[in-house]
C-alpha cells in the first residue's frame, strides 16, 4: 500500500552517530511536541517536493545540483545501499543519551508509520544541531533576558530527503550525498564501474581511461552516472567519433577501438554522459560548452 500521509499513526525520532568504525543509528525517545514538529517537517518537505505538480527528476551522481531540487531515486539504486539497509532495519537501539555528544552527530531522522503500518523515514544532516549549541541563547522567563544554560537542539523546518514506497525523494541533494556516503561508495566501485561500462561500449578502449578515472573524483562520479545509463550498447562508433571531433576532443583509433588522448579524458567522459556539447551558430566558429547541470529538453517533431 502507498504511504498515507493523512493517517500518520506514530512518529519516532532518531540520530545517526559517528562511531569508531561504522555509523550507528539510535532511537531517542521524544514527546508529543517533538513528534508534532517532525510531522510539520514532513509536511513542509512534501509540500516542497510536490509543488505545482512539477515532475521529479532522477538523481544523477555526476550532476551539479542547486541547494534544493526535486529528485528521486529508486530504493534499488546502488547509490542508496546504505539507506536501503537502514530503511529495512527494525528494532533500532534505544539511546536516551543519543544527543549527549553532538560532535558525533551525522544526521537525525524520523520514522513515521501510517495506519496500515507502512513506513516513511525522513533524514536531515545535523548541521544546525551541531551549530546552535555553540551560541548563547536567551529567554524571557520572567520579563528579563537570561542565558539558557542547558544544551539546546534545533530541529530544522524540513528534511533533506525522505524514503518510502521503495523510493528516495530528495529535496536537498547536498544533505543526501553527504549522509549517503556516496563519494566513498563511488570511489570504491570506480574500477568495477569502468569495467562494466567497457563491456557495454564495445567501440571504446577503456584501458587507459581506468587509471585516469581512479585519480579524479569528478571522473568517478561521471563513470558512475554513465554506468547507470541503459542505452550504452546503442552508442554508434561513427557518431561518437563525429561528436568527439565536433567537441574538440582528441581521440586515437587502434585496432578499431577509440580512446581519448591525454588531456581529452575528462571531456570524453563528459561527452559520454551528454555533458559536453558544441553549438555552431557562426560559420566556422564552433563553441563548445560543458554542462555540469543539465536536463533533457523536449524536441519539436
Amino acid at each position: 500500500m502507498p504511504f498515507n500521509f493523512d493517517s500518520i499513526k506514530s512518529v519516532e525520532f532518531g540520530v545517526c552517530l559517528e562511531g569508531d568504525e561504522n555509523e550507528t543509528y539510535r532511537i531517542v525517545p521524544s514527546d508529543k511536541g517533538v513528534q508534532t514538529a517532525l510531522k510539520e517537517m514532513l509536511e513542509a518537505t512534501r509540500a516542497q517536493l510536490f509543488r505545482d505538480d512539477e515532475k521529479l527528476v532522477e538523481f544523477s551522481p555526476a550532476e551539479k545540483y542547486g541547494s534544493t531540487e526535486r529528485l528521486y531515486l529508486s530504493l534499488d539504486s546502488e547509490f542508496v545501499t546504505k539507506h536501503r539497509e537502514i530503511f529495512a532495519t527494525e528494532n533500532l537501539v534505544t539511546d536516551t543519551h543519543g544527543l549527549a555528544e553532538p560532535k558525533h552527530l551525522i544526521s537525525y531522522f524520523a520514522i513515521f508509520r501510517d495506519s496500515n503500518g507502512d513506513k516513511l523515514m525522513g533524514f536531515r544532516r545535523a548541521a544546525q544541531f551541531k551549530g546552535v549549541i555553540k551560541k548563547n541563547l536567551v529567554t524571557f522567563l520572567d520579563d528579563t533576558l537570561k542565558i539558557v544554560e542547558d544544551d539546546l537542539f534545533k530541529l530544522d523546518t524540513d528534511f533533506d530527503y525522505i524514503i518510502y514506497d521503495d523510493q528516495v525523494l530528495i529535496w536537498r541533494p547536498s544533505g543526501f550525498i553527504f549522509t549517503a556516503g556516496m563519494d566513498e561508495h563511488i570511489a570504491a566501485c570506480a574500477a568495477a564501474n569502468v569495467d562494466l561500462v567497457s563491456k557495454e561500449v564495445a567501440c571504446v578502449d577503456f584501458f587507459g581511461l581506468k587509471d585516469f578515472v581512479l585519480k579524479h573524483k569528478l571522473s568517478m562520479r561521471l563513470i558512475a552516472a554513465i554506468k547507470s545509463r541503459d542505452d550504452l550498447a546503442d552508442i554508434s562508433k561513427r557518431r561518437l567519433k563525429a561528436e568527439c571531433k565536433e567537441a574538440g576532443l582528441k581521440i586515437s583509433e587502434i585496432k578499431g577501438m577509440l580512446s581519448p588522448q591525454e588531456g581529452s579524458e575528462y571531456g570524453f567522459l563528459m561527452l559520454l554522459d551528454r555533458r559536453r556539447y558544441t553549438v555552431t551558430l557562426i560559420e566556422k566558429k564552433p563553441e563548445t560548452y560543458e554542462a555540469p547541470s543539465r536536463h533533457a529538453a523536449a524536441r519539436a517533431e
Binding site: S30, D31, E90, H97
Partner: protein, 183 residues
C-alpha cells in the same frame, strides 16, 4: 561507539520493588514481633503500594508523552513460566521467612536486597503481578541477528495476546529501554 547507557536506572529499581508487592502484603498479614503492628503493617503496605503507584505513573507518563516505539517480532517466546518461577521459587522462601528475631530479619532483608539487585541488573522489572492481573502476558522478543543496524539485545513486550507472530509490527509504549507494553 559505546553501547548506550540504559535509561530509568532508579525507576527500574522501583519497578523491581513493585514486583515484590505480594511479599510485602503477606508480611503485613503475618506481622512481626519485632515491630508493633501500627508501624509494621503501614510500612509493609507502603512498600507494596508506593512502588506500584510509581510504576503506574511511569505507564501514564509514557502514554501522556506518546513515548511509543514500533517493535517488530523476529522470534517471540511466551515466558509465563517466568512469573511462576518468580512467584513461587523466588518469593516462596521469603513468605515463610522468620521475622521474629533481629538476626533472621536482617538475613532476610539482605537476601531480599540481593534479589532486588539481580532483578534490577538483569532487567527483570517486567515480572509483576499487576501486569498479570491486567491480563498481560510476557513475551521475550529476539531481534533478527542479521539486521545490520538493528538491536541485537532481546527485549520484552507485555501484550494481552496469546501469541506474537513472526514479522508482526506491534505499537508499544516504552516502560524502559528493554520493556515495552502493547498500545
Amino acid at each position: 561507539m559505546k553501547p548506550p547507557k540504559e535509561a530509568f536506572q532508579f525507576t527500574r529499581l522501583i519497578m523491581v520493588l513493585s514486583s515484590m508487592a505480594p511479599l510485602f502484603l503477606l508480611w503485613a498479614v503475618r506481622g512481626s514481633s519485632l515491630l508493633p503492628n501500627q508501624y509494621f503493617i503501614p510500612g509493609c503496605l507502603f512498600m507494596a503500594i508506593a512502588p506500584t503507584g510509581l510504576l503506574l505513573l511511569r505507564v501514564r507518563a509514557a502514554k501522556t508523552a506518546n513515548d511509543c516505539q514500533t517493535k517488530t517480532v523476529f522470534r517471540a517466546d511466551d515466558h509465563k513460566d517466568h512469573i511462576l518461577v518468580y512467584l513461587f521459587a523466588t518469593l516462596l522462601p521469603f513468605y515463610t521467612a522468620d521475622l521474629q528475631n533481629y538476626r533472621e530479619s536482617a538475613a532476610t532483608l539482605l537476601a531480599l536486597a540481593f534479589i532486588l539487585f539481580l532483578f534490577w541488573h538483569l532487567n527483570m522489572h517486567y515480572m509483576n503481578l499487576l501486569f498479570a492481573l491486567q491480563g498481560y502476558r510476557v513475551f521475550t522478543v529476539t531481534p533478527d541477528a542479521k539486521d545490520a543496524h538493528g538491536s541485537k539485545t532481546p527485549f520484552v513486550i507485555l501484550a494481552k495476546r496469546t501469541a506474537l507472530t513472526e514479522g508482526e509490527a506491534i505499537e508499544t509504549y516504552r516502560l524502559s529501554d528493554t520493556v515495552f507494553i502493547q498500545k
